[in-house]
Subunit: 227 residues, 6 copies
């Protein structure tokens, strides 16, 4: 967040197995598997429901009302990347529309995560190019000031380094540091493997109180039942 | 909102006819029939469109970032209930996901109304378990502090007592006190019975100005037409 | 915004060609064609996705919690109009529902743009009557205080005069002053005519950096690439 | 929050000793003494710093943009009361200014707590009449619709019944139910009696880690120190 | 709000008597005298308490993050003016600090009203140069894009034309159209002349219920007293 | 933001000259000297006006509603430090009051910067212990979950590493990375050295248009003056 006017061309991307595999687990499970860290603020919402992606982050730092660097970051995209765009101050402008999406998609980008606004959202849905953003806005931007590409950024309250894995779905967006990607994949898969059995028990009417053996600690904490 | 660590097991639920019948009338009509009171703040939104429910409230008071009591309230659900969850301070965490929804649904709950966040929203929609919430968030919660179940709570700015009727649809969420449920059902039905005729008149081009005889009071208030 | 209790019956509407033709171009393109002015604040959202309209503005100034003037403005609607409703102070109440929509639609209105709340949103979608609003709320309103019809108003931060063209879609709402409607139509069409070629180039993998000849100005601004 | 058009003249006020005595303890200590419940949302701020009051609640339920009932509640004020004003929907209008403050002060009111706006704030400070409010606004209100006086209300997210004790200072506003006022006074005084000794220890450089014997539970929870 | 790149040098300022005289009456009284219109949104707050000004508006339209036009507007200031700054989109940047304030003050400006951020607020207070703004921010701005000077603008939700009178104090900011400035001055003075007598009555314990003869209309509206 | 349950005891603090010297320059000048980066979001406000500090960051990552780690960070404070507290999700609770402030002050801390709430603000002002926070709240917190101390954190949208220099005043809070502290001190001092001369010129009536030679680029950009 402190270096302006630079583009890092060579970044260390997280292992592809993790970058590809985390999507299926979903942001909530991955967030739990991380120990409840890594979540971008919940104001980040998908522009259309149903998309579920993961990929390696290429980052871009923008200035308010200026999308010049979006064109610079396009060149750094490799297939399987997710572009993560941060802004140096609060801004709701529409930095990204169908033309940039066409370019990003041609480069192999899987999604955009932007702490600002986007536009042409209906076309983006038709293109099947998902975006998680702070808002939707027709407001266009200028091209006047340098930001940076592939430096670590703060996006929606979370620290994202180039090469980290981004996991995004209808529940939100999680960032998994590259160095922890494989262990997180394993932990999330393990976590998910227990879910089916739990769901079956709960569906049969067994209570979480019993399944998780909560009655004793609740009583110890002083919970009282009154008839 | 003032009593912690208690679970009331026996609550007086509103008459089932009202609890079942108010759904069809919708939150806006019920709110009008109540004399324009009872509405939860409009930031409460359904996690997917199209659900329209009513049911008797079982309430739960939670602490920020702690969903322990959600398991306690599950045991108090009876078929036809709507769980109403309040938090002692502002919180956007995801207190509720597909596992708890499975449990709630197995107990017969019709919906959840929560002044905080939920997650697994795509699965919840597939399960056909509607939720009205303040936000959507992957953020998980801990299980450390006692709240209460079936005490009166303030949820999204409205006072909800256990056994009250909750009416929720795409327009929002209304609480009807149990003691007024039957009279509200009657008033809402009466109100709705006039709607068809009014709609037909308006559709034919008759103006509300004439249908509601507003021209005279508007002129008396000083309205001037300028050509 | 300063005159209360008046209804202007004769307003100068923008040329019909522009009022009808701008819809197809969309709010983002029209906003750019205007020189990046005219956009209502992005908190204005459609109550359902997919609608795309343009039409001539008839305006109404309301008071908080009072929709009396909505009935007065109904009479001033002509086929092809879009009603633009402003409020003298922040308000989230539901000023508009299916009955008023029936009346507006019978008069030929294409849409409502309101800096407040609406209700009966599911029915409005079934009626195919689009609304762009600040929020959705079941909260009803009273009929006690005079506002005005067809005076210039500020709606969601933008100045709208009666007869201006409103363009609204999933990206937001733009106001085009009547006097600039034809030139804006021409500029927007010209702008759009270039889009197909650009999109094809970008889809083929050509970068915006090259297509827009940005490499030189970026270097001149000091951008550095680091391997 | 459900009954409109009524004024309860006889309310049971909390014991005067508690109503008078809680001010000195402050909202934070009282909130802790209550078990961390009773706090109004923190957007409620004093219009000037330094006021610290407690008193018995007389309540009023208002409609958006309508302060008619503020005159009705004035008559119900007794010396030592704090007026608590709630609104049936979000509103930022200035419901209260120097004239009403003169009347309230003449009746013996100690303060106003209002989930909306106030005006004439400089004069109110000169009069030494404190107000805790959601905002400050010059916007005036009408007198057209009935609310209620001395019914239980939800003010800034908290349930307040007539006769409860309100404690307000620069940290916020807490409501203490009348039935718990005396025990809360005792608990808050006890809590405060320990503060001096604690402060002296901490000022001398003793750490909370040692004073509260936290090192062992932190280690048990897994805290690791890295040099 | 629609014209970019122009500076109007000759504007028609409101009569000086009104521009000078309205300050003493205050924003709340002026707002009432206008018939409850003209108020900027209440998020506009003074950067320090106690300032109370009025003056003729010179306006400037800015772009997000760009304060170039602030230097252009400086030249158009005449003694007694208040600069009113609007932005084409939401922005919290600090457009204005002690240097610009020195320049504005040297030109005779009485205040700045800006729908964005300012900085150097402690110095501005020492200079006795009041500002009403949306926020305070150290964030600097660039000088790259043309806006306009002395066109009508929307500032904080209100339409302001060059030459209108701005009245600002601790309660907020009101805009009085130039053409209505003298009548508003008269109406506000008349209104204020009644205040002393009213205040004396209320201070003596007479209720507004009696002074304004509200008991009858309240009873007619159905108000019930319950003992 | 990704590591939980660890306390780093040995951190590399920025040079003391910069840590001590940046306070006098103020957050706005330092932010400019950094190239307009490093600013925490402007919702961070001082709890009382007039404080102006700089110091080296010791960081703490907290969970919503849990201030356990505030006691852990206290031990890591050295004279001249500023504690920077981040939370893993949005929270407005009052994590910090007069007891913790006594402890922090005894350890030599100059200030607290916290992306959450504080309480006992009047006492904090009397103690002369400044805090920049998101809000003020009486709401207390529990001590149940491990965070971390002296890991890099995101506080109010900005990345802060242990040992960085924090500069805070009435305009906001800026973070200067330790590695850039000395060059920033030099750049900020140079920047400030020009201010006196500029201020004198502007005070004499010279316009920024002339002093900064803006007339030509404005004309080149197309600015038109209309008489």
């Amino acid at each position: 967040m402190y270096e302006l006017g630079v583009v890092y061309r060579n970044i260390q991307r997280a292992p592809q197995e993790a970058a590809d595999g985390l999507a299926a687990l979903g942001s909530a499970t991955v967030h739990e598997a991380m120990g409840r860290v890594g979540l971008l603020k919940p104001y980040m919402r998908p522009i259309y429901p149903g998309a579920q992606v993961s990929g390696t982050a290429v980052t871009v730092l923008l200035h308010p009302g200026d999308n010049w660097m979006m064109h610079v970051v396009a060149e750094q995209i490799r297939p399987g990347d997710v572009v993560v765009a941060a802004v140096t101050a609060e801004c709701t402008d529409g930095y990204f529309g169908d033309l940039l999406a066409t370019s990003f998609q041609a480069r192999g980008a899987r999604a955009l995560v932007i702490d600002a606004g986007v536009r042409d959202v209906r076309t983006l849905q038709e293109m099947n190019f998902p975006v998680w953003s702070k808002c939707i806005s027709s407001k266009g931007t200028i091209k006047a000031t340098l930001g940076s590409v592939n430096i670590p950024v703060v996006c929606a309250g979370m620290w994202v380094s180039p090469g980290d894995v981004i996991v995004a779905d209808d529940d939100g967006v999680v960032c998994v540091p590259a160095a922890r990607a494989m262990e997180t994949l394993a932990a999330a898969r393990k976590r998910e493997s227990f879910e089916g059995e739990k769901r079956a028990k709960l569906a049969s009417g067994i209570l979480g109180l019993d399944m998780y053996q909560m009655r004793e600690p609740l009583a110890a904490a002083g919970l009282k039942y009154i008839d």
